[in-house]
Protein backbone atom coordinates (compact mmCIF):
# COMPACT_ATOMS: atom_id res chain seq x y z
CA UNK A 1 0.00 0.00 0.00
CA UNK A 2 1.35 3.44 -0.93
CA UNK A 3 1.35 5.77 2.04
CA UNK A 4 2.01 9.43 2.78
CA UNK A 5 3.44 10.34 6.17
CA UNK A 6 2.23 13.48 7.95
CA UNK A 7 5.55 15.00 8.74
CA UNK A 8 6.59 17.69 11.19
CA UNK A 9 10.31 16.94 11.35
CA UNK A 10 10.02 15.81 14.97
CA UNK A 11 10.75 12.38 16.40
CA UNK A 12 7.19 11.02 16.42
CA UNK A 13 6.43 11.57 12.75
CA UNK A 14 9.84 10.27 11.68
CA UNK A 15 9.60 7.21 13.89
CA UNK A 16 6.09 6.52 12.56
CA UNK A 17 7.53 6.87 9.05
CA UNK A 18 10.20 4.31 9.84
CA UNK A 19 7.57 1.91 11.22
CA UNK A 20 5.49 2.36 8.07
CA UNK A 21 8.52 1.68 5.85
CA UNK A 22 8.92 -1.73 7.47
CA UNK A 23 5.40 -2.80 6.47
CA UNK A 24 4.29 -0.76 3.48
CA UNK A 25 5.62 1.62 0.81
CA UNK A 26 6.11 5.22 1.93
CA UNK A 27 5.56 7.24 -1.24
CA UNK A 28 5.92 10.76 0.15
CA UNK A 29 6.11 12.97 3.20
CA UNK A 30 3.40 15.58 3.78
CA UNK A 31 3.96 18.80 5.68
CA UNK A 32 1.47 21.48 6.57
CA UNK A 33 3.33 24.69 7.36
CA UNK A 34 1.31 26.80 9.79
CA UNK A 35 1.77 30.54 10.11
CA UNK A 36 0.05 30.41 13.48
CA UNK A 37 2.41 29.68 16.38
CA UNK A 38 -0.61 28.68 18.50
CA UNK A 39 -1.79 25.98 16.07
CA UNK A 40 -2.68 22.77 17.92
CA UNK A 41 -2.45 20.75 14.77
CA UNK A 42 0.62 21.72 12.85
CA UNK A 43 2.96 24.25 14.38
CA UNK A 44 6.46 23.06 15.13
CA UNK A 45 9.75 24.92 15.25
CA UNK A 46 11.94 24.55 12.18
CA UNK A 47 9.16 23.14 10.01
CA UNK A 48 10.89 24.76 7.04
CA UNK A 49 13.70 22.25 7.41
CA UNK A 50 11.30 19.40 6.60
CA UNK A 51 12.50 19.72 3.01
CA UNK A 52 16.07 19.03 4.09
CA UNK A 53 14.95 16.00 6.11
CA UNK A 54 12.96 14.72 3.11
CA UNK A 55 16.07 15.08 0.98
CA UNK A 56 18.09 13.16 3.58
CA UNK A 57 15.46 10.41 3.45
CA UNK A 58 15.31 10.45 -0.34
CA UNK A 59 11.55 10.98 -0.26
CA UNK A 60 9.44 13.58 -2.06
CA UNK A 61 7.78 16.22 0.11
CA UNK A 62 4.29 17.64 -0.35
CA UNK A 63 4.25 20.99 1.40
CA UNK A 64 1.13 23.09 1.94
CA UNK A 65 0.85 26.44 3.73
CA UNK A 66 -1.90 27.23 6.20
CA UNK A 67 -2.83 30.40 8.03
CA UNK A 68 -3.48 28.16 11.01
CA UNK A 69 -7.03 29.29 11.78
CA UNK A 70 -8.58 26.70 14.05
CA UNK A 71 -10.82 24.57 11.85
CA UNK A 72 -9.85 26.08 8.51
CA UNK A 73 -6.44 24.50 8.77
CA UNK A 74 -8.23 21.19 8.28
CA UNK A 75 -9.15 22.35 4.79
CA UNK A 76 -5.47 22.92 4.21
CA UNK A 77 -4.72 19.44 5.52
CA UNK A 78 -7.30 18.10 3.09
CA UNK A 79 -5.62 20.05 0.29
CA UNK A 80 -2.27 18.53 1.23
CA UNK A 81 -3.62 14.98 1.31
CA UNK A 82 -5.38 15.50 -2.01
CA UNK A 83 -2.15 16.73 -3.55
CA UNK A 84 -0.30 13.70 -2.19
CA UNK A 85 -2.99 11.38 -3.52
CA UNK A 86 -2.93 12.99 -6.95
CA UNK A 87 0.85 13.21 -7.27
CA UNK A 88 1.96 9.99 -5.60
CA UNK A 89 -1.13 7.77 -5.59
CA UNK A 90 -1.22 7.36 -1.83
CA UNK A 91 -3.94 5.10 -0.42
CA UNK A 92 -3.33 5.93 3.21
CA UNK A 93 -1.82 8.36 5.68
CA UNK A 94 0.51 7.72 8.61
CA UNK A 95 0.64 9.96 11.67
CA UNK A 96 2.88 10.05 14.73
CA UNK A 97 -0.03 10.62 17.12
CA UNK A 98 0.52 8.97 20.49
CA UNK A 99 -2.18 10.29 22.79
CA UNK A 100 -3.78 13.30 21.19
CA UNK A 101 -7.41 12.49 20.45
CA UNK A 102 -7.77 16.08 19.17
CA UNK A 103 -5.23 15.56 16.40
CA UNK A 104 -6.09 11.93 15.69
CA UNK A 105 -9.80 12.68 15.32
CA UNK A 106 -9.24 15.46 12.84
CA UNK A 107 -6.84 13.48 10.68
CA UNK A 108 -9.18 10.45 10.77
CA UNK A 109 -12.08 12.60 9.58
CA UNK A 110 -10.18 14.11 6.67
CA UNK A 111 -8.80 10.70 5.66
CA UNK A 112 -12.30 9.20 5.72
CA UNK A 113 -13.64 12.02 3.57
CA UNK A 114 -10.96 11.27 1.01
CA UNK A 115 -11.25 7.48 1.23
CA UNK A 116 -7.74 7.14 2.65
CA UNK A 117 -6.60 4.66 5.28
CA UNK A 118 -5.24 6.19 8.47
CA UNK A 119 -2.43 4.58 10.43
CA UNK A 120 -1.21 5.64 13.87
CA UNK A 121 1.56 3.14 14.68
CA UNK A 122 2.55 4.94 17.88
CA UNK A 123 -1.00 5.16 19.26
CA UNK A 124 -0.93 4.50 23.02
CA UNK A 125 2.69 3.38 22.69
CA UNK A 126 4.57 2.37 25.79
CA UNK A 127 6.52 5.59 26.13
CA UNK A 128 9.50 4.04 27.87
CA UNK A 129 9.86 1.32 25.23
CA UNK A 130 9.35 3.86 22.45
CA UNK A 131 12.11 6.18 23.65
CA UNK A 132 14.47 3.24 24.13
CA UNK A 133 13.75 1.97 20.62
CA UNK A 134 14.19 5.45 19.20
CA UNK A 135 17.73 5.68 20.53
CA UNK A 136 18.61 2.03 19.85
CA UNK A 137 17.46 2.29 16.24
CA UNK A 138 19.84 5.11 15.47
CA UNK A 139 17.58 8.14 15.52
CA UNK A 140 19.41 11.29 16.56
CA UNK A 141 17.00 13.80 17.97
CA UNK A 142 17.60 17.27 19.38
CA UNK A 143 15.25 19.28 21.56
CA UNK A 144 14.07 22.21 19.47
CA UNK A 145 11.39 23.67 21.71
CA UNK A 146 10.58 23.87 25.42
CA UNK A 147 7.16 24.93 26.60
CA UNK A 148 6.86 24.15 30.27
CA UNK A 149 8.71 24.06 33.56
CA UNK A 150 11.23 22.63 34.40
CA UNK A 151 12.61 22.74 30.85
CA UNK A 152 14.78 25.83 30.75
CA UNK A 153 17.07 27.28 28.09
CA UNK A 154 19.75 24.66 28.74
CA UNK A 155 17.52 21.99 27.21
CA UNK A 156 17.39 23.69 23.81
CA UNK A 157 19.69 21.93 21.36
CA UNK A 158 20.35 18.95 23.61
CA UNK A 159 20.41 15.57 21.95
CA UNK A 160 18.10 12.92 23.38
CA UNK A 161 20.72 10.34 24.24
CA UNK A 162 20.79 7.90 27.15
CA UNK A 163 21.86 10.56 29.62
CA UNK A 164 19.13 12.97 28.55
CA UNK A 165 16.56 10.18 28.58
CA UNK A 166 17.56 9.40 32.16
CA UNK A 167 16.94 13.02 33.13
CA UNK A 168 13.63 13.03 31.26
CA UNK A 169 12.55 9.97 33.23
CA UNK A 170 13.18 11.77 36.51
CA UNK A 171 11.29 14.86 35.31
CA UNK A 172 8.39 12.83 33.90
CA UNK A 173 7.94 11.15 37.26
CA UNK A 174 8.37 14.27 39.37
CA UNK A 175 6.23 16.63 37.28
CA UNK A 176 3.67 14.11 36.00
CA UNK A 177 4.48 14.86 32.36
CA UNK A 178 4.87 12.40 29.49
CA UNK A 179 8.30 11.00 28.77
CA UNK A 180 7.83 11.75 25.08
CA UNK A 181 6.74 15.38 25.47
CA UNK A 182 3.39 14.45 23.93
CA UNK A 183 1.68 16.92 26.23
CA UNK A 184 3.41 19.75 24.39
CA UNK A 185 6.23 20.17 26.92
CA UNK A 186 8.90 19.60 24.28
CA UNK A 187 9.33 19.76 20.53
CA UNK A 188 12.06 17.89 18.74
CA UNK A 189 14.00 17.92 15.49
CA UNK A 190 15.50 14.80 13.95
CA UNK A 191 19.01 15.16 12.53
CA UNK A 192 19.50 11.50 11.66
CA UNK A 193 17.33 8.43 11.17
CA UNK A 194 18.02 4.85 10.13
CA UNK A 195 16.55 5.55 6.70
CA UNK A 196 18.45 8.80 6.09
CA UNK A 197 21.12 8.43 3.40
CA UNK A 198 22.83 11.51 4.83
CA UNK A 199 22.56 13.16 8.22
CA UNK A 200 21.77 16.78 8.96
CA UNK A 201 24.46 19.01 10.39
CA UNK A 202 23.20 22.08 12.23
CA UNK A 203 25.62 24.81 11.20
CA UNK A 204 24.07 27.81 12.86
CA UNK A 205 21.29 28.10 15.42
CA UNK A 206 19.97 30.64 17.88
CA UNK A 207 17.88 30.31 21.01
CA UNK A 208 14.79 32.36 21.69
CA UNK A 209 13.81 31.75 25.29
CA UNK A 210 11.83 33.32 28.10
CA UNK A 211 10.31 31.83 31.22
CA UNK A 212 10.29 28.13 30.29
CA UNK A 213 9.17 28.88 26.80
CA UNK A 214 11.63 28.82 23.96
CA UNK A 215 12.74 27.45 20.64
CA UNK A 216 15.98 26.55 18.97
CA UNK A 217 15.89 28.34 15.64
CA UNK A 218 18.04 26.47 13.17
CA UNK A 219 19.30 29.23 10.89
CA UNK A 220 21.53 27.13 8.69
CA UNK A 221 21.86 23.39 8.22
CA UNK A 222 23.17 21.04 5.57
CA UNK A 223 23.51 17.38 4.66
CA UNK A 224 26.71 15.52 5.39
CA UNK A 225 27.82 11.95 4.81
CA UNK A 226 27.04 9.44 7.58
Amino acid sequence: MKLGVLFSGGKDSLFACWKAMQKEEVACLITVVSQNPESYMFHTPNIRLAALQAEAAGLPLVEVETAGEKEEELLDLKRALLAARDRYGIEGVVTGAILSVYQATRVQRVCRELGLWCFNPLWLADQEAYMEELIDSGFRVVIAGVFSSPFDESWLGREIDRRTLGELRVIAKKYQVTLTGEGGELETFVVDAPFFAQRIAIEEASKVYRNYNGVLRIERAGLVAK
Partner: protein
Protein backbone atom coordinates in the same frame (compact mmCIF):
# COMPACT_ATOMS: atom_id res chain seq x y z
CA UNK B 1 -5.22 -17.99 28.89
CA UNK B 2 -6.82 -15.36 26.70
CA UNK B 3 -6.93 -15.77 22.94
CA UNK B 4 -6.31 -12.34 21.45
CA UNK B 5 -7.46 -12.09 17.86
CA UNK B 6 -6.03 -9.64 15.35
CA UNK B 7 -8.69 -8.62 12.80
CA UNK B 8 -6.43 -6.33 10.77
CA UNK B 9 -5.96 -6.61 7.02
CA UNK B 10 -2.87 -8.79 7.21
CA UNK B 11 -0.98 -10.77 9.83
CA UNK B 12 1.78 -8.52 11.15
CA UNK B 13 0.28 -5.45 9.46
CA UNK B 14 1.06 -1.80 10.07
CA UNK B 15 -2.21 -1.60 12.03
CA UNK B 16 -1.09 -4.19 14.55
CA UNK B 17 0.75 -1.71 16.77
CA UNK B 18 -2.35 0.47 16.90
CA UNK B 19 -5.08 -2.08 17.51
CA UNK B 20 -3.50 -5.22 18.97
CA UNK B 21 -0.35 -4.14 20.80
CA UNK B 22 -2.17 -1.81 23.25
CA UNK B 23 -4.37 -4.72 24.36
CA UNK B 24 -1.33 -6.98 24.66
CA UNK B 25 0.38 -4.38 26.85
CA UNK B 26 -2.71 -4.08 29.02
CA UNK B 27 -2.87 -7.84 29.51
CA UNK B 28 0.85 -7.95 30.32
CA UNK B 29 0.40 -5.15 32.84
CA UNK B 30 -2.33 -6.99 34.71
CA UNK B 31 -0.49 -10.30 34.50
CA UNK B 32 -2.91 -12.24 32.31
CA UNK B 33 -1.50 -14.90 30.00
CA UNK B 34 -2.49 -14.58 26.36
CA UNK B 35 -1.69 -15.78 22.89
CA UNK B 36 -2.26 -13.63 19.81
CA UNK B 37 -3.52 -15.00 16.50
CA UNK B 38 -4.56 -13.38 13.27
CA UNK B 39 -8.22 -14.15 12.56
CA UNK B 40 -7.24 -16.18 9.52
CA UNK B 41 -5.00 -18.42 11.62
CA UNK B 42 -7.17 -19.32 14.61
CA UNK B 43 -7.04 -23.09 14.96
CA UNK B 44 -8.92 -25.67 17.00
CA UNK B 45 -6.07 -26.01 19.55
CA UNK B 46 -6.17 -22.21 20.13
CA UNK B 47 -9.90 -22.34 20.81
CA UNK B 48 -9.68 -25.40 23.02
CA UNK B 49 -6.99 -23.94 25.24
CA UNK B 50 -8.51 -20.47 25.56
CA UNK B 51 -10.37 -19.42 28.70
CA UNK B 52 -11.63 -16.31 26.92
CA UNK B 53 -11.20 -14.41 23.68
CA UNK B 54 -10.78 -10.79 22.70
CA UNK B 55 -11.47 -9.63 19.15
CA UNK B 56 -9.47 -6.46 18.49
CA UNK B 57 -10.39 -3.46 16.37
CA UNK B 58 -9.20 -2.39 12.94
CA UNK B 59 -8.60 0.79 11.00
CA UNK B 60 -11.71 2.55 9.74
CA UNK B 61 -11.11 1.51 6.12
CA UNK B 62 -10.19 -2.03 7.11
CA UNK B 63 -13.24 -4.26 6.64
CA UNK B 64 -11.61 -7.30 5.06
CA UNK B 65 -12.61 -9.46 8.02
CA UNK B 66 -16.30 -8.96 7.14
CA UNK B 67 -15.71 -10.89 3.93
CA UNK B 68 -14.87 -14.05 5.87
CA UNK B 69 -17.85 -14.78 8.16
CA UNK B 70 -16.94 -18.46 8.12
CA UNK B 71 -13.82 -17.65 10.15
CA UNK B 72 -15.95 -16.41 13.05
CA UNK B 73 -18.49 -19.25 13.29
CA UNK B 74 -16.61 -20.69 16.27
CA UNK B 75 -18.09 -17.82 18.30
CA UNK B 76 -21.48 -19.57 18.19
CA UNK B 77 -20.24 -22.50 20.25
CA UNK B 78 -17.34 -20.98 22.20
CA UNK B 79 -19.46 -20.28 25.32
CA UNK B 80 -16.58 -18.73 27.24
CA UNK B 81 -16.12 -14.98 27.78
CA UNK B 82 -15.61 -12.93 24.63
CA UNK B 83 -15.00 -9.22 24.27
CA UNK B 84 -15.33 -7.76 20.79
CA UNK B 85 -13.79 -4.31 20.55
CA UNK B 86 -14.91 -1.98 17.75
CA UNK B 87 -14.60 -4.13 14.60
CA UNK B 88 -14.50 -7.07 16.99
CA UNK B 89 -17.99 -6.14 18.18
CA UNK B 90 -19.14 -6.09 14.56
CA UNK B 91 -17.65 -9.54 13.95
CA UNK B 92 -19.25 -10.89 17.14
CA UNK B 93 -22.67 -9.48 16.27
CA UNK B 94 -22.40 -10.71 12.69
CA UNK B 95 -21.68 -14.25 13.89
CA UNK B 96 -25.06 -14.15 15.66
CA UNK B 97 -26.87 -12.67 12.69
CA UNK B 98 -26.57 -8.99 13.55
CA UNK B 99 -26.25 -6.60 10.63
CA UNK B 100 -25.00 -3.05 10.46
CA UNK B 101 -26.42 0.33 9.59
CA UNK B 102 -24.57 3.48 8.54
CA UNK B 103 -23.50 5.57 11.53
CA UNK B 104 -20.29 7.52 11.21
CA UNK B 105 -18.82 8.65 14.51
CA UNK B 106 -15.24 9.88 14.59
CA UNK B 107 -14.20 11.52 17.85
CA UNK B 108 -15.40 11.68 21.41
CA UNK B 109 -18.95 10.51 22.08
CA UNK B 110 -21.00 10.62 25.27
CA UNK B 111 -22.05 7.06 25.96
CA UNK B 112 -24.96 6.34 28.28
CA UNK B 113 -25.69 3.01 29.92
CA UNK B 114 -29.02 1.46 28.89
CA UNK B 115 -28.94 -1.63 31.10
CA UNK B 116 -26.99 -2.52 34.22
CA UNK B 117 -24.05 -4.85 33.81
CA UNK B 118 -21.11 -5.73 36.03
CA UNK B 119 -18.69 -4.90 33.21
CA UNK B 120 -19.70 -1.27 33.49
CA UNK B 121 -20.54 -1.34 37.18
CA UNK B 122 -20.96 2.03 38.82
CA UNK B 123 -21.14 4.00 35.61
CA UNK B 124 -24.19 5.72 34.20
CA UNK B 125 -22.21 6.92 31.24
CA UNK B 126 -18.75 7.76 30.03
CA UNK B 127 -16.99 9.61 27.24
CA UNK B 128 -15.49 7.29 24.64
CA UNK B 129 -13.27 7.78 21.62
CA UNK B 130 -15.16 6.21 18.75
CA UNK B 131 -14.03 5.69 15.17
CA UNK B 132 -16.57 3.82 13.06
CA UNK B 133 -18.65 4.08 9.90
CA UNK B 134 -21.33 1.62 10.88
CA UNK B 135 -23.38 0.79 13.95
CA UNK B 136 -24.16 -2.76 14.93
CA UNK B 137 -27.77 -3.89 14.78
CA UNK B 138 -28.27 -5.81 17.99
CA UNK B 139 -28.84 -9.53 17.26
CA UNK B 140 -31.91 -11.12 18.84
CA UNK B 141 -29.87 -13.05 21.42
CA UNK B 142 -28.17 -9.86 22.62
CA UNK B 143 -29.19 -6.77 24.56
CA UNK B 144 -27.97 -3.23 24.05
CA UNK B 145 -25.94 -2.20 27.09
CA UNK B 146 -24.92 1.33 26.12
CA UNK B 147 -25.51 3.87 23.39
CA UNK B 148 -24.48 7.31 22.24
CA UNK B 149 -27.16 9.69 20.98
CA UNK B 150 -26.63 8.15 17.54
CA UNK B 151 -26.11 4.42 17.92
CA UNK B 152 -25.48 1.37 20.08
CA UNK B 153 -22.04 1.34 21.70
CA UNK B 154 -22.03 -1.87 23.74
CA UNK B 155 -23.89 -5.17 23.62
CA UNK B 156 -24.09 -8.36 25.68
CA UNK B 157 -25.44 -11.82 24.96
CA UNK B 158 -28.59 -12.58 26.97
CA UNK B 159 -27.22 -15.73 28.60
CA UNK B 160 -23.55 -16.10 27.67
CA UNK B 161 -20.61 -13.86 28.69
CA UNK B 162 -20.22 -12.40 25.21
CA UNK B 163 -19.66 -8.65 25.06
CA UNK B 164 -19.13 -6.07 22.36
CA UNK B 165 -17.91 -2.52 22.83
CA UNK B 166 -17.47 0.04 20.09
CA UNK B 167 -14.70 1.90 21.87
CA UNK B 168 -11.25 0.45 22.24
CA UNK B 169 -9.00 0.33 25.28
CA UNK B 170 -7.56 3.61 24.06
CA UNK B 171 -10.63 5.18 25.60
CA UNK B 172 -9.42 3.98 28.96
CA UNK B 173 -7.88 7.42 29.07
CA UNK B 174 -11.32 8.91 28.76
CA UNK B 175 -13.06 7.01 31.46
CA UNK B 176 -14.43 3.85 29.91
CA UNK B 177 -11.80 1.49 31.19
CA UNK B 178 -14.32 -0.62 33.04
CA UNK B 179 -15.42 -1.97 29.69
CA UNK B 180 -11.90 -2.92 28.74
CA UNK B 181 -10.24 -6.32 28.92
CA UNK B 182 -8.50 -5.08 32.04
CA UNK B 183 -11.82 -4.88 33.81
CA UNK B 184 -11.92 -7.01 36.96
CA UNK B 185 -15.21 -8.46 35.78
CA UNK B 186 -13.76 -9.62 32.51
CA UNK B 187 -10.73 -11.01 34.25
CA UNK B 188 -12.87 -12.87 36.76
CA UNK B 189 -15.07 -14.28 34.06
CA UNK B 190 -12.16 -15.21 31.88
CA UNK B 191 -10.71 -17.36 34.61
Amino acid sequence: MILLIDLCYRDGSLSRDEFVAPVERLLCRIGVAFVTRHYTAVGAPDLESADAAILCGTALMDTGYTEHPELFRWLLTFERPVLGISSGMRALAAAFGGGVEPCREIGMADVKMLAPDPLFAGQEGFPAYTVHDYAVQVPGEFVALAASDRCVQAIRHRSLPLYGSSSTPRSGTSGSSSGSPGSPVFRARSG
